[in-house]
């Protein structure tokens, strides 16, 4: 029996073989029967394969392009009052396919470990911890004391308790963030005094106040908003802003299910395969949200092409399209002149092996009916022989 399966390794994908093995055991099939099924599987598998010369690239492009025309343009969608706004539709799809470095609305979906995810209060605590907190959010008042030339900050005690921060920690964080200040703790908060005095003390003090307001106190940098949401039976946290590496360090976070919509960050933290999966998920989400239907294989094709080199490359002139071998193909897609100039400087050679160059030259495109050719092998001798034959014929 084992040998029988070994025979088919390479002919059928591993997963199908494994499934077959399991099913055969359950159904208690005889080797002859197994062989019959496997032969049938091979037939079906080969039929499901894409034919040689099928233009999958253009079919994929059309499969994205046509529904793209139906997408709502530039609409920010708020489902519910408190929901985080996320770029959707065509702008988001363009963002993904171009593999933009900075995206319009970075966002994370943080899953909490099962033992914490059931209780909303616990999830809220985790969310408060994760959220990036600035001084202005915990301070009640900022006063400029002109007589003493110092800033007096009054803290909101309740807020501080909520985010589990001590005034001492806040002072330490502030000291780390802003140089040349001395901070003294008071009953209500603390006072801040610049160490050096200058001529424009009041101005400096005012500037310091504005700077202090935006100073980071606690939480994870980059996560500007958190929103606990019930998804199925458990609670998850949706965020605005992303910082995958730091979020994964939080002990309550389930690191195996937490994700961000930033492709490059995913690639940096989790690797290229995770980035590929993110492309598939994100592109799929856009298409599903718009109520459109694009076959998953087209998305897979795009994601694979973008991640093929180990680095995410967008479908732009600096990305995948710029990697094309043919000068003419590159020139036909965005900014033709620089491509032609560069090609002439380097003395590039266009082998005319792809589609668009051949359309330009009005030659059969090497796809579909244009792919197969009659091949007669002719060495240099046979060519010369033919030429002499022709000459003789013409002489006659």
């Amino acid at each position: 029996m084992e040998d029988l399966y070994k025979e088919y390794v390479g002919k059928l994908p591993g997963k199908i073989l494994n499934d077959m093995e399991k099913e055969a055991k359950v159904r208690d099939l005889k080797p002859a029967q197994v062989k019959k099924v496997l032969e049938y599987l091979i037939e079906q598998y080969n039929q499901a394969k894409i034919d040689p010369g099928e233009a999958i690239g253009i079919i994929t492009a059309e499969s994205f392009g046509e529904p793209g025309t139906q997408m709502t343009l530039n609409v920010f969608h708020f489902a519910g009052v408190a929901e985080v706004s996320v770029t959707q539709g065509l702008p988001r799809l363009i963002e993904i396919l171009d593999a933009r470095k900075t995206i319009k609305t970075p966002s994370m979906e943080i899953c909490i470990k099962k033992e914490f995810a059931k209780e909303p209060t616990q999830v809220k605590k985790v969310a408060a911890q994760i959220k990036e907190t600035l001084l202005k959010e915990v301070a009640e008042e900022f006063n400029i004391n002109v007589s003493k030339m110092q800033l007096e900050v009054k803290l909101n005690k309740a807020r501080i308790k909520e985010i589990k921060a001590k005034p001492e920690d806040i002072i330490e964080n502030l000291e780390n963030a802003i140089k040349k200040i001395s901070i003294k703790k008071t009953d209500e908060g603390f006072t801040i005094k610049p160490e050096e005095s200058s001529d424009h003390e009041l101005m400096e003090l005012y500037k310091l106040k504005e700077k202090l307001k935006e100073t980071y106190i606690k939480g994870i940098k980059g996560i500007t908003h958190v929103l606990p949401v019930k998804r199925g039976s458990e609670f998850i946290i949706i965020t605005a802003g992303t910082n995958l590496a730091d979020v994964l360090k939080v002990p309550e976070v389930d690191s195996s299910r937490t994700s961000t919509n930033d492709l490059h960050e995913t690639a940096k933290v989790l690797g290229i395969e995770a980035a590929r999966q993110t492309i598939i998920n994100e592109a799929g989400k856009v298409i599903e949200d718009q109520g459109l239907d694009v076959d998953i294989r087209h998305i897979l094709c795009i994601a694979d092409t973008m991640c093929r080199s180990g680095v995410i490359k967008g479908i732009t002139r600096s990305g995948i399209t710029g990697e094309k071998k043919s000068v003419l193909a590159k020139a036909s897609f965005e900014t033709p002149l620089p491509h032609l100039v560069n090609a002439s400087l380097l003395g590039e050679n266009d082998e005319l092996n792809s589609v668009i160059e051949n359309v330009m030259l009005n030659q059969p495109v090497p796809l579909g009916t244009g792919l197969p050719d009659l091949v007669a092998k002719m060495g240099p001798k046979s060519i010369k022989k033919k030429q002499t034959e022709k000459k003789e014929e013409s002489k006659k």
Binding site: I58, I59, E62, V341, N362, P364, L367, T369, D373, A376
Partner: protein
């Protein structure tokens, strides 16, 4: 801050008042009495505590009836006098019954929609709720039953409809004029129909329509017409097209001459081609002309004086610049006018007339934004008919109704039917039309099914349809878009000089572009060779020098091929490519980049 209110006029501060309400009351009172110009409008902004007086041009204003002490100033007496033409609109204005408000003054007013809604607080009364619509939209019947987007389209359709656009059309020369042959006054009208001139300039016909599918030729907004009705003149129209020719004057005292050209003239066509011209070089009226016939003969002096050089045998040879009718057009010469234009040049204007009988592809529309194109014309004997023997003129697809929600379309059919049977016009004004119930009553009183459906028989098989068919009378418009003006196809033809690709546009007999996205479709289907064939329109054979890869020269006269760079002793191969690519190579070369073509034996 003072508690006085600032007053601005024409955006300039002019003073302050103590009590704004009283001030405005006084201004309005004086305006109604005629002491202040009627064009003045006044607005009080409570939040900013300022009064803005407007007298400038370009504000849109609308008339409303004034209410005083909870009573409309328009009395029964006024209405009676208006009907009997004793007083006019301007009298109402003078009397202070009606005043015009602009958008700003309207903010301070409280306008009642109808007379029975009036309370003490109301300051004005709406003349009629139909005024929320413009003139063309308000002649859409039963528009309060229709979807707003469809009303817009309905009024757009009416602007494109054929009718009697001017009663002196016979002595006018308009570009692209159409006249409908038997225009009719609609049975179902709104109160604004006559204001829009539908009585004297009707633009459509009352047809019997059935709401059903038939042979599948009315799907996706296409229509089926009754050939019998067409033969009786339904939807026929005449298309007028002007041509004008001028005797231009050139430098040196030379000028064009309208005449039958001599045989010596350069560019003379066959004698046969000038057969329609009379002695003066102009076609005779009522001449039947077909495609590319010459309608005016004209000779022009040579284009360059150099053409009159001593070598030519007959010096000063004239050119033929006769005017042909445009390709694809035909008809009869309707009128010939010979005059002088502003510059004193002789001017000949012709008008071609062509009867347009509806054909497959012509556009028709109801007044509800339901437009469609003729898909089939069925002989009358094959049309379905009701048990009482009525055949519809037009069959309309029921699928056009649900998604577009044009309930008004259906109600018009019922109203038209009731109106036609009882020989009276039906009022279909928005918000004040004849009610659906009374229409149903009218129908059932005359012995018809009240919902407008009838038993009908299939004209082809003679079997009765299982379903009751909705049938009624509707006012249908023939729109000016006719296939005769739009149909276009070509095989070989004129090409562009630069790219050698076919020229663009129907008027020039251009090609139909297979664009980038269409190309992608061919590629996606793998139809590689078909794609090549489609793009063969600018195919050229270019001789290429095999040693340097540049374009070589093929000298036909000396039967020699040579390369400008490598001389005559090289192998030159002919390569087939698109002319556009050869042009690209030439242009790249003109920038100082050498594109080499490296030839390789493919097999």
């Amino acid at each position: 801050m003072s508690n006085k209110t600032d007053v601005y006029m024409r955006e300039v501060f002019i003073g302050q008042v103590d009590s704004p309400e009283e001030f405005i009351k006084k201004v309005k009172q004086e305006r109604r009495e005629g002491k202040i110009p009627e064009i003045l409008n006044i607005n009080y902004n409570k939040d900013l505590n300022e009064i803005i007086v407007e007298v400038s041009r370009g504000r849109s204003r609308r008339p409303v009836i004034i209410i005083e002490n909870g009573k409309s100033k328009l009395t029964e007496d006024h209405v009676k006098k208006l009907i009997s033409n004793e007083i006019k609109w301007s009298d109402l204005k003078k009397e202070g019954v009606i005043e015009y408000l602009d958008a700003a003054e309207e903010e301070n007013c409280f306008i009642a929609l109808s007379e029975d809604q009036i309370t003490k607080e109301h300051s004005h009364l709406e003349i009629s709720p139909i005024l929320i619509m413009g003139l063309t939209t308000s002649i859409v019947p039963f528009s309060n039953y229709g979807q707003s987007a469809r009303l817009n389209r309905g009024s757009k359709s009416q602007k494109q409809s054929l009718g009697l656009y001017a009663s002196n059309y016979l002595i006018r020369i308009d570009t692209d004029a159409n006249v409908l042959h038997y225009p009719a006054n609609p049975i179902v009208k709104t109160c604004n129909s006559n204001i829009a001139g539908q009585e004297n300039h009707p633009a459509g016909q009352n047809l019997v329509i059935a709401l059903m599918s038939y042979e599948g030729y009315n799907m996706q907004d296409s229509l089926i017409l009754n050939r019998g009705s067409l033969n009786r003149g339904m939807g026929r129209s005449t298309y007028f097209k002007p041509y004008s020719v001028e005797e231009l004057r050139y430098s040196g005292g030379l000028s064009d001459r309208i005449c039958v050209p001599d045989k010596e003239v350069k560019g003379y066509k066959a004698e046969e081609d000038y057969r329609l011209l009379e002695e003066d070089g102009i076609v005779y009226p009522e001449a039947t002309i077909t495609e590319s016939d010459i309608i005016i003969g004209r000779t022009s002096p040579p284009r360059f004086l150099g053409e009159m050089d001593e070598f030519s045998i007959s010096a000063n040879r004239l050119r033929d610049s006769s005017v042909k009718i445009k390709p694809g057009e035909n008809g009869k010469v309707d009128m010939v006018v010979v005059t002088d234009n502003e510059e004193g040049n002789r001017l000949v204007q012709l008008r071609i007339r062509h009867d347009r009988i509806p054909e497959i592809g012509d556009k028709f529309a109801s007044r509800h934004g339901q437009k469609g194109v003729v898909g089939l014309m069925v002989p009358q004997q094959d049309m379905p008919f009701t048990v009482s023997g009525i055949t519809p003129d037009l069959i309309f697809s029921p699928h056009s109704i649900p998604s577009r929600m044009t309930v008004s379309h259906l109600i018009e059919a019922v109203a038209g039917k009731a109106g036609a049977l009882s020989a009276e016009r039906v009022d279909a004004s928005a918000f004040s039309n004849k009610s659906e119930e009374s229409l149903r009553e009218m129908l059932s009183e005359m012995g018809f099914r009240e919902d407008g459906t009838e038993r009908m028989v299939n004209g082809i098989t003679g079997e009765e349809f299982e379903a009751k068919i909705f049938i009624g009378n509707m006012f249908y418009l023939r729109l000016k878009h006719m296939v005769g003006n739009k149909l276009h196809a070509r095989g070989a033809g004129r090409i562009q000089l630069l790219t050698r690709q076919p020229i663009e546009g129907r008027a020039k007999g251009g090609g139909l572009r297979l664009g980038e996205m269409e190309k992608d479709c061919f590629v996606a289907h793998g139809a590689s060779l078909l794609l090549k064939e489609r793009f063969d329109s600018d195919r050229t054979v270019v001789p290429i020098c095999s040693s340097c890869g540049l374009i070589a020269v093929h000298d036909v006269f000396r039967k020699k091929t040579f390369c400008h760079r490598c001389g005559g002793n090289v192998e030159v191969n002919n390569v087939e490519m698109s002319y556009a690519f050869k042009l690209l190579m030439d242009e790249i070369r003109s920038m100082g980049i050498i594109p080499n073509v490296k030839l390789k034996n493919k097999y």
